[in-house]
């Protein structure tokens, strides 16, 4: 996987930039369109991403509204409770997602968490919205394979920061290889000196808790700065030094 060019809608993707694995069919992801016989053109503005190993190509779009898709970890705000589920807001001005009362680890009717209006929950999307059927997305705080929370659940304390969707995606790349591509080192550098908890929501939110207001703020601000100014690795290194010195 590598970043290459920025494409505009209608731009043709040069053949040499597409992966050409003779054994597999080329699979194209969001933002690309296949015009038979062999033209691939962009449908949205962004950077072209290719995975030579899987013979895949897609567009990275940093902007717009978050669209729920299955298994995405997101940070939601509880806005109320009805019957058997909490109503949660994924992004402002969109309809609510349902988080069933029993979809928490070890939750029974008696032990389920009591979440007040405005509480934050780190959850995963179980089923995305089906607009044609008028079904809102459903969330869960349990990993279906293990039955455990795996870090999901209500977020207590801390602070929420708004980040771009691209940043959220980069922060969520955890495998070693992907991490190198993501080029985010600020969290690691800060984490070497300070202890803090972070939760990244694919919907463009970052939750930070360092048990200390100043440090929480410093971590949140550092990430937002990297995000807004598009700092490269060296600049992040310098920023981390600066932040650690001040805090």
């Amino acid at each position: 996987m590598a970043y290459s060019d920025v494409l505009l809608p209608g731009d043709e993707v040069p053949q040499e930039q597409l992966p050409s694995n003779p054994k597999k069919a080329l699979s194209i992801g969001p933002g690309l369109r296949h015009i038979p016989p062999s033209t691939i053109s962009a449908t949205s503005v962004g950077a072209l991403n290719v995975d030579w190993r899987r013979n895949a190509a897609w567009m990275d779009v940093n902007g717009g509204r978050y669209l729920p898709s299955t298994n995405d970890p997101i940070i939601v705000r509880v806005t109320g409770s009805s019957g058997e589920a909490f109503n949660c807001q994924i992004t402002p001005y969109t309809s609510y997602a349902a988080l069933p009362h029993l979809s928490f680890q070890d939750a029974t009717k008696k032990t389920r968490p009591q979440l007040a209006n405005g509480a934050l929950v780190y959850a995963r999307i179980a089923t995305p919205a089906a607009h044609l059927l008028h079904i809102d997305p459903e969330l869960t705080c349990i990993d279906p394979s293990t039955g455990k929370s795996e870090g999901l659940g209500p977020l207590k304390g801390g602070m929420l920061f708004k980040i771009s969707l691209g940043m959220a995606r980069r922060l969520l790349m955890t495998s070693k290889r992907a991490k190198e591509d993501a080029k985010i080192i600020i969290l690691d550098r800060l984490g070497e000196k300070w202890g803090f908890e972070v939760a990244v929501g694919r919907n463009g939110y970052l939750w930070v808790d360092a048990n200390d207001i100043q440090r929480t703020m410093a971590v949140g601000r550092a990430i937002t700065e990297v995000d807004e100014q598009g700092l490269v690795v060296q600049e992040q290194e310098a920023l981390a030094q600066k932040v650690l010195k001040q805090g």
Partner: protein, 293 residues
């Protein structure tokens, strides 16, 4: 109707805890305004755009000639209207004016008109017959708190840089000149009122100047102070909210009023700069030997 998004409990509590330690998320001090900037339309008079942090407001002054109201034959009219449309945020609708819009319009109108910043008598052309009608429209382009401050700066800057057409009264007839015939006349403002808001937190114990959008959602009350450059108060509004001790309240008002003075000074400087730039540009043509033929 999309509802205004609210902030979470975590954010609210964090903000409050931080304020108790004199910290703000933006890194500002509790009594600091966000950076203000202003741009003037280079081609038009009285069109300004003000940016306060992420809040952006555009104001536009239009002048027409009408008949004065029969009850006030010696006065012109000045109306100021604020508009918050879906381009500010999706929860503002055009068809249904929001509370924010009504309160902002009211605040602007009462503080600028009732404090007599622009003497409406000067807008009278012919008693009982002709007068200028000034109409200032305020468009909120982006809302991240501090609407009063940004709106006052925009409106006042717009009034200070706008021109009314030159006129002459001859034998009971008013002759109006176009901008080509005669240069327009600058409005004479008596004083410059500017609003600064102090948001109240923690049961009235903490006062924070110029709250941003998130702080506005978390606050428990607000005191909007309108002050001018000569140490006067032109209006104070505390529409309920948490109760504040009288002594503390006087302190907050004084604090905000001092900030107002600073903003007026800055604004006057900016307007003078702009007027000088304009004068230079307008007269550059006259001085040059070349012409268009």
């Amino acid at each position: 109707m999309p509802l205004e998004p609210k902030i979470s409990v975590n954010e609210r509590e964090f903000l409050l805890d931080a304020l108790r330690q004199n910290l703000r998320l933006s890194g500002r001090k509790l009594d600091a305004l966000r950076p203000l900037s202003i741009t003037f339309d280079p081609d038009d008079y009285g069109v300004t755009e003000v940016q306060l942090g992420k809040t952006r407001i555009r104001a536009h002054t239009q002048t027409t000639i009408t008949n004065p109201p029969p009850s006030r034959p010696f006065e012109g009219t000045l109306t100021i209207t604020a508009e918050l449309s879906p381009l500010t945020a999706p929860h503002f609708e055009l068809a249904r004016p929001s509370d924010t819009e009504a309160l902002l319009s009211r605040l602007l109108e009462k503080s600028i008109r009732r404090s007599g910043a622009l003497p409406v008598e000067s807008l009278c052309l012919l008693a009982g017959d002709k007068c200028f009608n000034l109409r200032v429209t305020v468009h909120v382009l982006a809302h991240d708190g501090g609407l009063p401050t940004a709106a006052f700066v925009a409106v006042l800057a717009s009034l200070m840089t706008s021109r009314v057409p030159a006129t002459e009264v001859r034998g009971g007839e008013v002759q109006v000149f176009t901008a080509e015939e005669r240069e327009g006349v600058r409005l004479q403002l008596v004083h410059v009122p500017i609003a600064v808001g102090v948001s109240v937190f923690d049961g009235g114990a903490i006062g924070v100047v110029d709250a941003d959008g998130m702080e506005e959602q978390a606050r428990e009350g607000e005191v909007v102070v309108v002050g001018n450059e000569v140490g006067e108060i032109c209006g104070v509004t505390k529409w309920g909210g948490v109760d504040v001790g009288a002594v503390e309240l006087v302190g907050m008002v004084e604090e905000a009023r001092k900030q107002c003075e600073g903003v007026v000074k800055w604004l006057k400087g900016k307007v003078e700069e702009e007027e000088k730039r304009r004068a230079k540009r307008d007269h550059a043509g006259e001085r040059s030997a070349e012409n268009q033929r």
